[in-house]
């Protein structure tokens, strides 16, 4: 059974919860929109969450 949620105006769907998807989602909220962040695996983060340090600042990727 498809559950129909209340129609929400001003929403954007972001498909993919990697660094690109998460950044797009964060920016959209700053621009005044509600975001559905759809990720096929169990947690967001994508490939970047697997990286240790990123060049050149050696920041923790998380």
């Amino acid at each position: 059974m498809a559950k129909k949620s209340a129609k929400r105006e001003g929403a954007v769907m972001v498909l993919g919860g990697g660094v690109a998807g998460v950044q797009a989602a964060l920016d959209l909220t700053e621009l005044g929109f509600y975001v559905y962040l759809v990720e096929k695996s169990a947690a967001i983060g994508g490939a970047m969450a697997q990286l240790d340090k990123t060049f050149p600042t050696n920041d923790c990727s998380l």
Binding site: S5, M13, G16, G18, A25, D52, P56
Partner: protein, 955 residues
């Protein structure tokens, strides 16, 4: 992490897209939500279930190098922080047995009755960002991947380097756990490889291989590392500098070659066979081989295309065009990240912001209609309370805990004055740790919090928000950095690191006793932008702002809009840049929200985010006039121009009409002259770049050279075209054109800066002499034309840097706030950056960057106000003698001199203040104090440093 805390982001994980219907502004998406078999509201992420689960499962988060259990969480900081059960491996779901986790879970969160559910959501716009996929295994097999355990992929190697990886960050051979003495990296595995249909370059592997090699060297300086490559494509901003460092400082060996195979060599480990350009075959022994695997299209690319209707390119990435790089073939659906084409993190992040700008423009009428405004509980007034301090010491996995005795540090605060609660935690930054923090604040009525963990730069905002959620002012936190300052720098002296941690924590507690709440302030915003530069970047940014509903003023120095694009003619994909320019210029001129001031220059800018005032001078001589413009944000898009090198390849450039630049060739080829395509031409790449005259790579010259070579061949197929290069950097899909050029007979010959080609010219002819490594001898030819790829230099960035107080890098390009995560923002709030003034790059990347800058610039305009950081300087007017020393020293122009009762006094402009403290440290009468860093607080810290045995310390 931040995404998990926003009330306006609903994370639908474990979800599949089933279908998408509708039109721009009104889409309906159908989703299937797969069960986690764990109730997210109940799970505390304690990890007990994973401990008891009897079944083994290879850990895909650790690239299969480790084992986990079917019931698990990928990593402790995961969002959402809820465990899940992998149904394909769970014995209960597969065979109806086991169920041991159910009684183990203390919060009764495990629920095997969960079923997949379907859900429809209505959205105005869609952004697809599914990332990248894995290259097929066949591409790895010839290197014995899968046959020999010590052949690993670069992602596996990344996990080996990681402290949370299988060997806690030690690099060990998987075969016998020994430390490898010799490691080889093989580049272009699954990239630039027609064998697996990946004809493109993955753009990121060269840089990540260098990074991994340098990190591995840091772990084990005695390890010998060789990188086997075809072209080193480190074209990103400041990337070449890293490559040089890898070679000169770290002693990493680079060998230009093609690797034929890697085979098992018994006790010797692995035998790597490679061939070099001169036709020689060589082999070498290695302990470990790392395959620098490329980025493939995402595995579900075709499914996404079916569901959404978007078209894919021949490599199954999203199909887009140079002039509209993020727009898919379906209106209202944009793409961002690696699915648009393989790319690095900064480009992905930039595309995400740009995609957000496009969506924001599309559905601007719906703005603010669907969002939830986050409410914080009212702040508890703690003015009259005695300090009640909570201390939280973080293990950061083994990042801190592996060196520092964290429980010991935790115990050391027992009994300190004001400390009513203390504990340690595995990851203080994880979502569940935030819940614990909130709970403890309430339970123990804490009114000051000390977090001993990492740098405040990374996670202080997170903890501050948690404090606000718990009803505390966010300035009542003190972070003690026992990671960078203890476990990292004293990794080899654990006892001393522990003692230092205790000292620092004691000092932090001493300061925390004196912390005071600081007020939250906001300032209103002028809702318009000033765009400096009217090239394609500036115009694109202004149009994007207009689409989102905001006005802007473009200030262009020249009489005509267009900038560098006025001089170009066509793109490598066949686009006509004149058409683009005509279209964009017309749209700019027609748009009522965009004001254009050509022949104008910025004279002066003052103010701060939300409230800038600029003076612009238009015209010259007697007709010159000045006008004042109020604006809330600034977009810097001042561009660059072709470099005019005096020295090329280490020598003075001979004067000859037969020596021209790539841009001049392009103009000539786009003309109508019959003999516009020369009969023979030698192109010289990096003429004046990469250590020759300029230090950096200009990123687009190789693509331009191939573009013009193809154009010559198109007009005159018999023309002889030779391209002398150092590393041919046709990254991404441009690689296809490189291959095409070779097929058409364009000759590519590499050279090194140590032995560069020599140019000679007389009045009638030019000569080029170079070493041909394939022939193994010196060649001299006298072509009709010599074409130099000269690179790009920024224009006037130094003056603007002074005026706006924004930094430039060593090459005089503007320096962004954070190269990875804030690529279009400047360190000064309210100032954004795009285009060639950031760094040289091709047209499609400029357009994306301009859209991204417009997204970031629109944020304060959307809000209508900016929040000021509570930590600012404060002038005590009674003590101020009005000497104005502080005002003259402030690097952000954040102090103004005012008259109070006819006496001069200094006052902080709070919105501009960056809390650097220069004013406070120079004030001769100590009239200035920094919120959160008062003299009392710092003195208390210093006193506590030597006060181990005094009151306030142990017992």
């Amino acid at each position: 992490m931040e995404a998990g805390r926003s009330p306006n982001i609903e994370i639908l994980s474990n979800a599949d897209l089933l279908g998408l219907e509708g039109k721009p502004g009104d889409f309906t998406a159908k989703l299937r939500l797969r069960p986690r078999y764990i109730d997210a509201d109940k799970c505390t992420a304690c990890g007990l279930c994973t401990k008891y689960c009897p079944k083994h499962l290879t850990d895909s988060y650790n690239e299969g190098l480790d084992i986990t259990r079917p019931i698990h969480i990928d990593y402790p900081q995961a969002v959402p922080a809820t465990y899940f059960i992998d149904p394909s491996a769970c014995m209960h779901i597969q065979h109806g047995t086991c169920k041991i986790c159910v009684p183990v879970c203390r919060s009764r969160a495990i629920d095997f009755s969960q079923k997949p559910t379907e859900r429809e959501i209505s959205v105005g716009a869609v952004i697809v960002a599914p990332g990248f996929g894995r290259v097929p295994d066949e591409a790895l097999e010839k290197y014995s991947y899968g046959k020999h355990p010590d052949v690993v992929t670069s992602l596996e190697f990344e996990r080996l380097l990681n402290p949370s990886g299988p060997f806690q960050g030690e690099v060990r051979c998987l075969s016998d756990k020994r430390h490898p003495r010799k490691i080889a990296f093989i580049q272009c595995v699954g990239s630039r490889d027609l064998g697996c249909d990946n004809g493109y370059c993955s753009s990121v592997c060269c840089m990540y291989a260098i990074k991994e090699a340098m990190v591995a060297k840091e772990h084990d300086p005695d390890c010998e590392i060789t990188i086997y490559y075809m072209d080193l494509r480190t074209q990103g901003k400041d990337f070449d500098a890293a490559r040089t460092r890898a070679e000169e400082q770290f002693g990493i060996r680079f060998v230009r070659s093609r690797v034929a195979e890697v085979v098992d060599w018994g006790e010797n480990g692995l035998k790597l066979t490679y061939s070099t350009l001169d036709g020689g075959h060589h082999f070498e022994q290695f302990d470990m081989v790392v395959l620098s695997v490329g980025l493939d299209a995402p595995a579900d690319a075709k499914k996404i295309a079916d569901m959404t209707g978007i078209e894919l390119n021949s490599f199954d990435f999203a199909s887009t065009s140079t002039f509209a790089p993020l727009e898919t073939t379906v209106k209202g659906i944009t793409v961002a990240g690696a699915f648009q084409g393989p790319k690095d993190i900064p480009e992905s992040v930039t595309q995400s912001s740009a995609a957000a700008a496009l969506a924001s423009g599309l559905i601007k009428a719906q703005r603010n209609k669907g969002i939830v405004v986050k409410d914080y509980p009212e702040e508890v007034d703690i003015a009259d309370e005695e300090p009640r301090i909570g201390v939280f010491v973080c293990h950061c996995g083994i990042n801190i805990g592996g060196v520092v005795d964290v429980p010991g540090v935790d115990q050391s605060v027992e009994g300190m004055e004001g400390v009513v609660y203390h504990t340690d935690s595995l990851y203080s930054c994880s979502q569940d740790a935030q819940e614990v923090l909130k709970e403890k604040i309430r339970e123990y009525k804490l009114n000051r919090v000390v977090i001993a963990a990492c740098s405040p730069r990374t996670h202080e905002p997170l903890f501050q928000e948690t404090l606000r959620d718990a009803g505390l002012n966010r300035c009542l936190i003190e972070m003690v950095n026992i990671r960078d300052q203890c476990s990292w720098v004293h990794a080899n002296e654990p006892d001393a690191a522990t003692e230092k941690s205790k000292d620092l924590v004691r000092m932090g507690v001493a300061k925390a006793r004196l912390l005071k709440p600081l007020p939250e302030q906001t300032v209103p915003v002028t809702k318009s932008a000033l765009v400096i530069g009217g090239g394609i970047a500036g115009m694109t940014a202004a149009l994007s702002l207009a689409e989102q509903g905001f006005s802007s003023v473009i200030v262009e120095r020249n009489a005509k809009l267009g900038g560098h694009l006025l001089d170009t003619r066509y793109t490598i994909t066949g686009g006509n840049t004149a058409d683009l320019l005509k279209d964009v210029t017309a749209r700019v001129k027609k748009n009522k929200l965009v004001t254009v001031l050509t022949g104008s220059e910025l004279v002066n800018t003052s103010g701060f985010v939300g409230n800038f005032t600029s003076v612009v001078k238009s015209g010259s001589g007697k007709k010159a006039r000045e006008q004042t413009i109020d604006h809330g944000v600034v977009i810097v898009a001042t561009g660059a121009r072709p470099h005019a090198p005096e020295k090329v390849l280490g020598r003075k450039l001979p004067a000859s009409k037969k020596i021209i630049t790539q841009l001049e060739l392009e103009q000539r080829l786009a003309g109508r002259a019959k003999n516009r395509a020369p009969g023979s031409v030698v192109m010289i790449q990096c003429a004046g770049s990469r250590g020759d005259d300029l230090n950096y790579c200009s990123k687009s010259c190789c693509i331009d050279a191939v573009k013009n070579a193809l154009k010559i061949k198109e007009i005159n197929p018999d023309s002889q075209v030779v391209i002398l290069y150092r590393d041919l950097r046709t990254y991404g899909f441009a690689e296809e054109y490189y291959r095409k050029a070779r097929e058409l007979g364009v000759i590519f010959v590499p050279y090194s800066l140590a032995d560069p080609p020599r140019l000679g010219a007389t009045s009638r002819k030019v000569e080029v002499t170079y070493d041909d490594p394939i022939l193994g001898e010196e060649v001299t030819i006298a072509p009709d034309l010599v074409v130099l790829s000269v690179g790009m230099v920024p224009e006037g960035t130094e003056e603007l840097s002074q005026m706006l107080k924004i930094p430039v890098n060593a090459d005089k390009f503007f320096l962004e706030a954070h190269v990875k995560l804030r690529p279009v923002e400047m360190p000064v709030s309210g100032v954004y950056l795009c285009g060639l003034a950031h760094s040289p790059k091709p047209l499609d990347e400029i357009i994306v960057q301009a859209q991204a800058a417009a997204a970031k610039a629109a944020m304060p305009l959307v809000k209508g106000e900016v929040a000021v950081e509570p930590i600012v300087s404060h002038v005590n007017e009674d003590a101020c003698i009005g000497c104005s020393l502080c005002a003259s020293l402030c690097p952000y122009q954040a102090i103004e001199m005012i008259k109070v009762d006819k006496k001069r006094k200094a006052r902080t402009i709070v919105a501009s203040c960056k809390a650097c403290g220069i004013c406070a440290s120079h004030c001769p009468t100590f009239a200035i104090s920094m919120g959160g860093f008062t003299n009392d607080q710092i003195q208390a810290q210093i006193d506590a440093f030597g006060a181990v045995d005094d009151a306030g310390a142990k017992e």
